[in-house]
């Protein structure tokens, strides 16, 4: 279980998160929703242990995330970032193999087990045929799937994703979301995902965290989070729910 307890986060004088508290149950598939700049990415970074909140704490497995070593943390939480690096000279296979780093010692080479896990992760994300490609030779969707494969190779119970669908066309958005849904269902991974497309969240994520004004507006089933009232408060946009599909007006 992920427990976020009264965290405050700010960059300089800029307050990003204010007294935020919630729990995420094991095996849930939760979207983090909210307008630009409301602290979604910051929240994800706090949970991943990349950023230490000024106040409050994030607990995973009952222990503050800051008390784990980097290796232990990387065995529990994996993160798929918003903009995957496309200018590196590592092939897709080498990239996914890096996901095994938390399990290896210094100077230790990858074992057969590592190779098998990487192969499985790449086949699962339909990237095995790209294994020799460099990031610069892949499309945005392919690269994003490689990054998800790396996170899967980390074999963590918790998977965090920061807008993995932001640069993708609609078919690829569905592909990624369906992949994540399968991972959540079959492997019971806890998934927390920042999504901008509310309909995408409504369609694929059973649970939602709706942020507004640097704090939590609502936590619960996505359909109940995205009522016209709450959408107006959080995004300043009028919305109608027509047969499970949101339509927006100015």
């Amino acid at each position: 279980m992920i427990e976020v307890q009264h965290i405050n986060c700010s960059y300089g004088k800029n307050e990003i998160l204010r007294n935020l508290s919630f729990n995420i149950a094991d095996g849930s598939f939760t979207s983090i929703l909210g307008s630009n700049g409301c602290g979604k990415t910051t929240l994800l970074r706090c949970i991943a242990g990349l950023l230490e909140p000024q106040k409050g704490s994030v607990l995973i497995g009952g222990k503050p995330i800051g008390n784990y070593t980097a290796r232990q943390r990387a065995q529990m939480v994996s993160l798929v970032q918003q903009h995957p690096q496309a200018d590196i000279e590592f092939s897709a296979f080498e990239t996914v193999l890096m996901g095994r780093n938390p399990y290896q010692r210094h100077l230790q080479n990858e074992s057969q087990e590592d190779w098998d896990i990487v192969e499985q992760a790449m086949k699962q994300t339909n990237t095995w045929h790209l294994r020799l490609s460099l990031p610069s030779q892949m499309s945005g969707g392919e690269l994003q799937r490689v990054m998800i494969a790396r996170a899967l190779a980390q074999q963590t119970p918790v998977l965090l994703l920061d807008e993995p669908t932001s640069n993708l066309d609609i078919a690829h958005q569905f592909e990624i979301m369906e992949l994540l849904r399968d991972i959540n269902r079959n492997e019971h991974k806890t998934i927390l995902i920042v999504v901008h497309d509310l309909n995408l969240a409504l369609r694929y994520c059973p649970e939602a965290l709706l942020l507004n004004d640097h704090s939590l507006l609502y936590q619960g089933p996505t359909a109940e989070a995205l009522t016209p009232d709450r959408i107006l408060t959080a995004f300043g946009v009028r919305a109608q729910n027509k047969e499970g599909f949101l339509r927006f007006e100015k």
Binding site: A48, G49, L50, T69, A70, R71, R73, A74, Q75, V77, S78, L79, Q81, Q85, I88, E89, F90, F93, E94, T95, M98, G99, N101, P102, Q104, H106, L107, R131, L132, Q154
Partner: protein
Amino acid sequence: MKKRLNIWIVSLGLLVLLVAAMALCSTVGVVHFDRKSLLESQIFWNLRLPRVILSVLVGAALSVCGATYQSVFRNPLTDPYVLGISSGASLGAAIAILLGLEAHLWGVGGFALLTALLTILLIFKIASIGNRMHTTTLLLTGVCLTFLITAVISLLMALRQDKMESIIFWTMGSFASSSWLDVWIVLPVVTVGMLVVLFYSKDLNLLLVGSETAQSLGVEVEKVRRRLLLFTTLMVAFCVAACGVIGFVGLVVPHCVRLICGADNRRIIPYSIFVGGLFLLLCDTLARTMIPPNELPVGSITSLLGAPMFIYLLYKSKRKI
């Protein structure tokens, strides 16, 4: 997956090559031996052998430092001198030369080492925010300090024109006065430094991808970066103090290795040790044997020999750096 040659086999091959080259290079020179006369054996044991060993050590160290910096700073243009250590050392050397300490054992080298270490301290102090090290600030501070110190050296030379030649000669880098003392001073630092970098070579790969990614994949980024920078800067400081500024090796050897064997630092670091050592050994041997009895500056040989080789590799390679 493309099968790649085992790192140990390639390293062993390169080591054999290096040792053979060292043996060969220590026998060529202005004085030819039959190893019978006392003078000749003196020249061999006290002049040529330490020089050969030192050039290998420095070449290896500079290449490893260059490879490390290129990954830590995620910038292919960084070389071991980018943080201003070389200019710091040159300032110390210039002061020592002005004070007339050339005749003293490690007088110039000691001063150079001292100012190089002070420069490092200053740069790290400026670029640290809390317990984090800001890499862009670090690079910019290094570049600025280089300008500042170079200006001071120019002023010193303008004021004492009689010493200008020796200062310029020192900054060009040379192994002409290498002794066993240099070897014994440089060897432990370089050995420890190279072992540290080898130990963290896998982490260097992850740092190359990005510090946040590295952190989320289990690397203690700040700790690793700090240790790597500490040990590499020490290596560079000792090398510069021992033999002056020898350019090009640290920039280009890692790139050549990278063009041939790919971006994996677990290969680049060990191969750079051998290739860098071999390259500088050959350059120095050429520098001292091409126009006997005079010596050419080894720094110009490294560029003359290295630049065309590197451009050829760039041209032939499908990979980009």
